[in-house]
Structures are given as C-alpha cells and as structure tokens.
C-alpha cells in the first residue's frame, strides 16, 4: 500500500505550529510507517506534488502567501488550517487595526533607528495585502486544528483519525486552553 503523502507549510505564522508538530516525538516514528512528506520545511521540497493532506500554518499577509496556499489547495485532497493564525489571522492580524500604509511607514520611514528611510520596492519582495486574512477567506478549508499552537497530541489525534478513514473529532480536553 502506498503511503499517505502530507505537505506542510507556514505562511504568516511563527513556525510554532511546526515545532508543536514535532512534539509528537516518538509517535512520529510510528507515523512514518504510514505517511511520507512532500513539500515541507522538514524536506525542503519547494513545490507540492499531488498529496493527500495539506497542513497550513499561519494566515495570509502577502501575495506569496496566496500563491502558496493556492498551490496547497490545488494539490492536497484534504486541507487543514492549523493554529490560531491560519484560522483567525492571529498575532499578524493585529496590524489590521492600522492601514497597511501606516504599517509600512512605521517600519521603513518613521520607526526608531531607521537609516535611509525608504519603503522597499524590490520585485523579489512579495507585496503586502491590505489586511491579514485567515485561510478560509481565500480557499475552501476542509478542517480546522485550533490552538496556539495545537498540541502534539492534537496533531496526532487529527492525523490518526484521518489515517483511520474517520471524520476528525478532537476530544474536548484538546480544545480547552485555560
């Protein structure tokens, strides 16, 4: 039987969800009996081939995020929004209280210690969206794995359910954060 292919990426996130993914610890070894990784920071593969599951951390803050998310949606049968930023925008979305112009001016023109003030315009740099958005506002999302970050147990639970062919359902304890 061929292995289940999983791709992962972090958009406007902090990689904390990926670190938490690794908190599955020794269970990862067992998991690798059934899964293999496609595009992911773990493999350094740059573009997705067709996959079964896509795990996306972080929200959308720039044009490149949108391209990557669309690639994941196109290539992954099941797309999971992972963590607070992917689901709600999270910490990066705190800039939504300001205009993107105010953000850029603060960072590149008026900020403390700015030398040679200039808003960068190199075409290599992805343009910022006017606001930070959660994933489901740009593509269809199949499942949500909440938490900041979701625990290693929560990653293991959702993947175990999917591998068993079940509708994922997290027990209440894994959705309780205080």
């Amino acid at each position: 039987m061929s292995k289940i292919r999983i791709a992962t990426t972090s958009l406007a996130g902090c990689f904390g969800c990926h670190m938490s993914f690794l908190d599955m610890d020794e269970r990862l070894v067992g998991l690798l009996e059934y899964v293999e990784f496609d595009r992911s920071p773990l493999t350094d593969i740059k573009h997705c081939q067709p996959c079964d599951i896509g795990l996306v951390e972080g929200g959308l803050c720039n044009a490149e995020n949108v391209h990557v998310l669309r690639e994941f949606r196109q290539q992954c049968k099941i797309l999971i929004a992972v963590g607070a930023c992917a689901i709600n925008g999270g910490v990066p979305a705190m800039r939504n209280h300001y205009t993107v112009q105010e953000c850029l001016e603060e960072a590149y023109l008026h900020g403390v210690g700015v030398d040679n003030p200039l808003i960068p315009s190199d075409p290599e740099l992805p343009l910022l969206l006017s606001k930070v958005h959660p994933l489901h506002e740009v593509v269809r999302v199949d499942y949500y794995l909440p938490g900041c970050p979701p625990s290693g147990d929560a990653f293991f639970a959702i993947l175990s359910d999917l591998l068993a062919g079940k509708e994922p359902s997290l027990p209440k304890a894994m959705l309780h954060y205080d």
Binding site: V100, S121, P123, L127, S130, H133, E137, V139, R140
Partner: protein, 585 residues
Amino acid sequence: MQVEPLPSPARQQLADHLLHRLHDLQDRHHYIPPDTIAPLAAELGLPITQVESVIDFYSFFHRSPRGRFDILFSNCTSCGDLALMQQLCDLLEVQPGVTRADGMVSIDQTSCVGMCDQGAAALVNGRTLARLTAAQLPHLANLVNTATPLDAWPADWFAVQDNIRHAGLLLNDTLSSGDGLRAAVQAGADQLLAEIKQASLRGRGGAGFPTAMKWQFCRDATAPEHYVVCNADEGEPGTFKDRLLLTRYAQQVFEGMALCAYVIKAQHGFLYLRGEYHYLVPSLEATLDAMRAANLLGENILNQPGFDFDISLVLGAGAYICGEESALLESLEQKRGVPRVRPPFPVTHGYQGQPTVVDNVETLLAATHIALHGGQWFRDHGTEQSAGTKILSVSGDCATPGIYEFPFGITLQTLLAACGGQDAQAVQVGGPSGTLVSRAEFGRKLAFEDLATGGSVMIYGAQRDLLAVVRNFTHFFAHESCGFCTPCRVGTPLLRNYLDKIATGHGTAYDREEMARLGKLVKRRSHCGLGQTATNSLLDLLAKFPQVCADRLLHQDYEPFFNLDAALATTRELTHRDDAEAHLS
C-alpha cells in the same frame, strides 16, 4: 426594615442616574468630553472604568463630537429608508457617520426607532421625526444649515400618530383613574393574585411566563426590598405597541406596577424606557405627578396604611439587549447591559440583588383591567394556553399599518385580511428574533402554542427581496450583540459577512452550507436570548425559501471573501510597482 426614601412628588427631573447624566453631557457637548468622566464617576461614587464602559456600550453616547444636529435614520425594514439618508447626506454634503467639518451636522444609521407604522423615521438630537419623505429633505437641510432650533421646526414633523386600527378587550375598555387599584385594595392582595392566576395572564414580551407565578415567586422571596420594573425597552424591530400604550394608557400601566407592588410588597418601581422614546418623558412624568396627587402613588396609597410605592423613569441609550430582563437590570444598576447568568432569576435576585418582578408594559396594563373585572373576564378570551388578547404592531407592506388588538388564536390570514396585507409573500412574526412565515403557513395561529410574538408583525409583499430582509436582520444582530459570549459576538458578524457575500453575487453553495452550520451553532451555544434567536430568520429563509438564496449563488466550488488584487492596490502604489508579481488574479 430600611425604607427607601420616596422621591419628592414635585420632582420633574429624571432620577440621578449615570445614563441620565451621560445623556445630559451628550446633549450639551455633542459627545462625552474625556475630562468630564473622572468628576462624574467621583460624584456618582462609581469606578471610572464603569463609566467608561457604559459610554462605550450604549449607541447614543459618543467619544468624538457629533454634529449640533445629530440625525439618525432608522434602518429597520419597516420604518427605515436609507435612500433618504443618502439624499440628506448629499444635500448637507456630509458622509454617513462623519461629522461635518463645521460641526453643524452628523448623519448615521440607528436600529428601529419604533415608528414602523409611520416611516420613514429618524431621530434628530433624540427627537423623533416620523413620516419622512424625500420632498421635505431640502427644507430639513435648510433648517440644519441655518441652525434653526428644533422647537422652530414644523411641529407636525415630530407628531406621532396612534393608528389604532382594531381595538379589543383592553383598548376598548374605559377605565377611570384608580379603578384597578381601588378594586384591588378592597379585595386584598391575596385575592388580586388569585384573579391574575385565574386570568391565566402570561408575559406579553414574547416569552409568555405566567405572570401570577412570577409575582408569587417574588412575593415569597424574603429580602429587605422588593422591586417592580416595567420593561419599556421596546427594541424589537417592528414593535411599537408599548409606545402607543405609554402615550394613551400610561396611567393604567403605572397602576399595573402599583398592583404588582401591592402583591409583592415593593416600595419602589422603575419604568425603563428606551432612549428612542425620550419624547414621552414629559407626559409620563405628568401622569406620575397626577397619580401622586390622587394618592395612587406615594405613601399610604388609597389610605392603606403601609402601602407605599413610587415609580422612577430610567431612560435607556440605544441598546437592544437591554430589553432582555437581566441586561435591563444591569442597565438600571448603571452598568453595561450584559445579560446575567440565570439562575438565580430576577424574582429572587434582581435589581440590587433584591427580588424583582420585570414585566412587559402590556402585561401590567392587562393586570389593571383584570384587577377591576376579575380573572374570568380575561380568561374568557383567547385560547386554552393563551388567555386574553394580544396587542399587535402591524407594519410593512399592507394597506393600514398600525395597532391591532385581537384575541389570541386568530390566524395570520385573519390579521392580514384586517390590515389589507393579503398579498404578502411572507410575514415576520415576533420581529427579527421570531419566525419567518411563508404563504403556505398563513393559517397558523398567533398564540404562545403556535406563533409566539411580543407584538411585532412585519409584512413583506411580493416585490420584497427576502434576502435583503434577512440580511438587514443579521446586520441588526451583529450590531446589537453585547459582546459577552463568543458564539454571538463572533458568529453574528460572520453570518453578516456570508449574507453580504451572497447578496453581492460572490456566494457559493459552500458559503450557504457554512452559514447554515454556523447559524445552528450560534443558536445552540449563545449565552442569552439574543444569540439564541438571532439566526431564526436566516434558518427559516434557508428552509422555507431555498430559492431566494439559490438564485444568487455562483456555480463554482468556492469564491474568496474579498477582491485579492484590490487588496494589493495600496502596496502597489506605495512601492510604485506594477509587475506581474504585484498582481493577484
């Protein structure tokens, strides 16, 4: 027992209350100046944070200056006309929500102002403008531009009509001042309670709790004080019967409060009046004074030793949630109107933690009639489970909108025939939180056991876009959610976004499914009645009028919630870029 000092009979002013003080500041300065907050808090003995939170909670208080003329157009589906708002904005060269540079005028929307039988309606500096038409707007704009005081505006603009179209048991009954109270003190409090019970009177606000049981629970609760509160925060869009009752029958409503006080042994009562009905305050105060003079309020009422009771008015400030009884009590206690966790219920722990009866205006009016005529007189009307009559506020697409009193149990069909609304494609019964009824169901009965209603009946003719109607309701709830619980605070704006997306032609079947799923979640998980009912009309629309939504959907799997390329426009401009990577399709 500590006896609360009774207000002076001569008092013309509203009681000293944070909301009233903030109304005063707002009137004087057109906003709440920051430097007035700390002194006010100190004077009232309240924490500064409490004053700050109250300012932010209520729609009628502002942190930045509004115009000398602050004009708020109702956005209700019955008494609202936002096209008029836009016309007036154009005439006065002002953007909605933005005060004109000279400080003269600001124009914005507000939730239903209770003029649904005589729209379009607006408030100007808190005073009600009814039956507005496009033709009078140039004149109105001129009055604003010339800074003409409101007292010099045409008086008929402010006239509010009664529009009683069909009177029944209560509205036809002629009572003299004090009839109910005299009958009650003659028979005694136990007998009065027995008559209310015999009448099977149920709360008229919509929930239908047995009134006698409420009074009994409150009476049985031992505590230093007991209170009666009349809930006149009539905020459900499409409801205006309490406005009529307080215009024409205020004496009987106050008498109903005194009757309740007689049963539960309360010495003080409050009438919590929605801020939109500010204009009723002078007549209500005059009625209270007349009752004090006639010994129907005050000490030893009708010469009954120890029957001491008086009533104060408290004026709300534009918060629908304060119609929820525990939120209303919070508001009375000078706090934000956030619903309390229940139990304990107000009958044991209400105003200031004391046993409190909170009754609807119409319930208290009915109690006065029952005190005079007896319970059986009332019980003989209506249905098995819904005794008596219901005073209905009928509005929307019908020949004669207005007040209709019918016995409980009449069919919607009968009501529509009476008001000339037979051609309706749908009727919203009970306001946005109620039930959207399709033509096929017009045989259903208006009664607690079928279509329960606090009185709102909004009629929608064939030409109405029901999606626009439900979208309006959903915007209303998203605006009025108090923000306390997540399902409602987050859920109602999300539903609003879905409906906006569908209405603007960007919705897909996926959005409709998500909306239905979310609608059920908000209904099941919200803390109070607002959230629990906020999605009723939406779920009704999807179930009963599936085509209305289906016709608008795109035939594709998914469509983003915003225009991606437009979201890059600002940064394209700031970086002077227009290359391929600077665009998203």
